[in-house]
């Protein structure tokens, strides 16, 4: 009886999970099927099974009707530009919170915590005013600047630095290493997994962001992929355009999906072990 209990339920649960996984795939499969479908008109559009000779016509049309190469470049500049500055700011702040005792530390910690809930998009109106005041309206730098400091990254690095034995730093200190050398030669190499995890989280988040860049960017040739896709979708709305939209959506999503396929294990592991218990 008890044997049956413990065997059957988990199997049922496993079967249900696999069934839901199949369901989870449906939107992707549908996008793929539609993107290569020569006739995305009318009744055939809901088909999940490809009954056609695949064509690249939808991709050609999508590619031609929006400047995807430019959007991709803009998105890359935004994502990697933010990351480059963040790696410096979060390393410094993470080291302070991990290793330095100073008056005002708790207040600073809570000030950082505040940013966790205040994504720049929540404060979009005053942030837009600030961006304009700094002369950064309608520029990629204006999209990037509010993210240059990251509370999330700071806490992540702090966590990673804390588990590094103090003795290592003390030894370097005795050898005459200054604080920058200690960070550069001891802390950063040992915290590499956390740095990678943070990089993945950060790039993914900013690659996918929409509303804030929409607010800041006015010129069409400064649009990131997400803003480009939204205006593209709106421009081509209607059932007959589904194939083209699917192709465009695939184009926009492809870079991250390919990166994920290539580095799947590292990707999932780094998310799962990003220092949060």
């Amino acid at each position: 009886m008890s044997v049956a209990n413990r065997e059957i339920s988990p199997r049922l649960g496993y079967g249900a999970t696999l069934a839901i996984a199949a369901l989870w795939m449906v939107p992707f499969i549908w996008m793929l099927v539609a993107a290569f479908n020569p006739e995305s008109v009318g009744a055939g559009m809901a088909s999940l099974v490809p009954r056609y000779i695949p064509t690249l016509a939808n991709f050609a049309e999508a590619w031609g009707s929006a400047d995807f190469p430019r959007y991709t470049l803009n998105t890359m500049i935004i994502s990697f530009g933010i990351l480059a500055v963040q790696l410096v700011t979060v390393t410094l702040a993470g080291y302070v919170f991990a290793r330095i005792e100073f008056p005002g530390r708790t207040i600073c910690f809570y000030l950082f915590l505040l940013q966790l809930m205040l994504a720049p998009v929540v404060l979009m109106v005053p942030n837009l005013v600030m961006v304009a005041k700094l002369g950064l309206y309608d520029s990629l730098l204006g999209v990037m600047a509010p993210y240059f400091a990251s509370a999330f990254g700071t806490f992540l690095m702090r966590q990673a630095f804390k588990v590094i034995p103090r003795e290592l730093e003390d030894a370097a200190l005795i050898d005459g290493a200054n604080v920058w050398q200690r960070i550069g030669f001891i802390y950063l190499p040992l915290a590499k997994p956390s740095l990678i995890a943070f990089s993945i989280v950060s790039v993914t988040a900013h690659w996918n962001e929409f509303l804030w860049p929409l607010m800041v960017i006015n010129s069409p040739d400064l649009r990131p992929l997400t803003v480009g896709l939204a205006s593209f979708t709106r421009g081509a709305e209607g059932a007959q355009a589904w194939g083209v939209i699917a192709a465009g959506t695939l184009l926009v999503s492809a870079p991250l999906l390919i990166a994920f396929a290539l580095f799947q294990r590292a990707f999932v592991n780094s998310f799962a072990s990003s220092g949060i218990k």
Binding site: P10, W24, Q264
Partner: protein, 302 residues
């Protein structure tokens, strides 16, 4: 005693200086784009501006009164509560189930985990573009296949009673795989011998869930709940693509309402008041879970 005091006073000063020098880059950007904007938004909420660049007129709490008198705002507030809890709780339960079923590392499970994780990588705007057609009346994926089963779906995005739930479906699809990762990490902390002992004692799967897994995962559940709530309140990309808040404000959410006030109505005062209400909500979520967050980010551990 006196010398000790002097040493203690002198040494922290140097390290304090170093600490603040290293925090300076972060604090500069936080000041520009988090702290000052909060002050700015509070000031704006108390003022009105007739036209862009025009003078700011002090109006006291007028913006808040107008805000709460606005049926669209009250609707957005109510929608946001339904939307937040109605997406985070089901995603969390699904994520926990996925994580428990896929906890064992093998080829199949790794692949299935990846399948659940795919939507996380998709920009919300892209996911919304797909779902726009999925929800299309008659010819869309849902209606077309429901018709084959001789069923007819509601007007997924066009019916005010249904549209918000359709959007919530998209959000659950998008986020469950993300929360799953936290639970996969959390499950690693559960000692295997706890299960073995329980099985020897004859505990069934439900008992093991109730008395072993859930207690161990309590911190993770708290963390996912908080991060999830903070997350979904600040996401509206899908509303932008799918419904623009309609029909009749049934899918309007706070942040989208603020966006409309700021960008479409040029009502900076009301947008600011709306932002403050959002801030209050986010603060309430954070404050009520400060201990969970602190534990997750490890302020009190040594």
């Amino acid at each position: 005693m006196a010398t000790q005091w002097r040493v203690a006073k002198w040494r922290p000063r140097r390290t304090t200086l170093l600490a603040f020098a290293m925090l300076a880059p972060s604090l500069l950007f936080l000041a520009l784009f988090t702290y000052w904007p909060v002050v700015e938004v509070a000031w704006q909420a108390l003022h009105n501006q007739r036209k862009i660049g025009g003078p700011q007129v002090f109006v006291g709490l007028d913006n808040f009164l107008k805000l709460f008198a606005d049926a669209a705002f009250r609707k957005a507030l109510a929608n946001n509560l339904v939307y937040a809890f109605g997406t985070v709780v089901p995603s969390l339960v699904l994520a926990l189930g996925f994580a428990m079923a896929l906890a064992k590392s093998n080829r199949v499970n790794t692949l299935v985990r990846a399948l659940f994780f795919l939507p996380v990588l998709l920009p919300l705007v892209a996911a919304a573009s797909i779902f726009l057609f999925l929800f299309l009346p008659n010819v869309g994926l849902l209606d077309y296949h429901l018709a084959k089963l001789a069923l007819s779906g509601p007007n997924w995005l066009g019916d005010p009673d249904v549209a918000l739930y359709s959007i919530m479906g998209l959000t659950i699809w998008k986020n469950a795989g993300y929360y799953m990762l936290f639970f996969l990490a959390g499950l690693q902390a559960v000692p295997a011998d706890a299960y073995e002992a329980a099985i020897l004692d004859g505990a069934g799967p439900w008992q093991r869930l109730r008395y072993i897994t859930l207690p161990y995962l309590k911190p993770t559940i708290g963390f996912v709940l908080v991060i999830g709530l903070l997350n979904v309140v600040t996401q509206v990309d899908h509303v932008f693509v799918l419904t623009k808040g309609g029909p009749s404000d049934s899918t309007n959410l706070l942040l989208f309402y603020v966006y409309q006030q700021a960008v479409e109505s040029y009502d900076a005062g009301r947008a600011a008041a709306g932002t403050l209400v959002m801030l209050a909500l986010l603060l309430a979520i954070t404050a009520s879970s400060l201990r969970t967050l602190e534990r997750s980010f490890g302020e009190r551990d040594q």
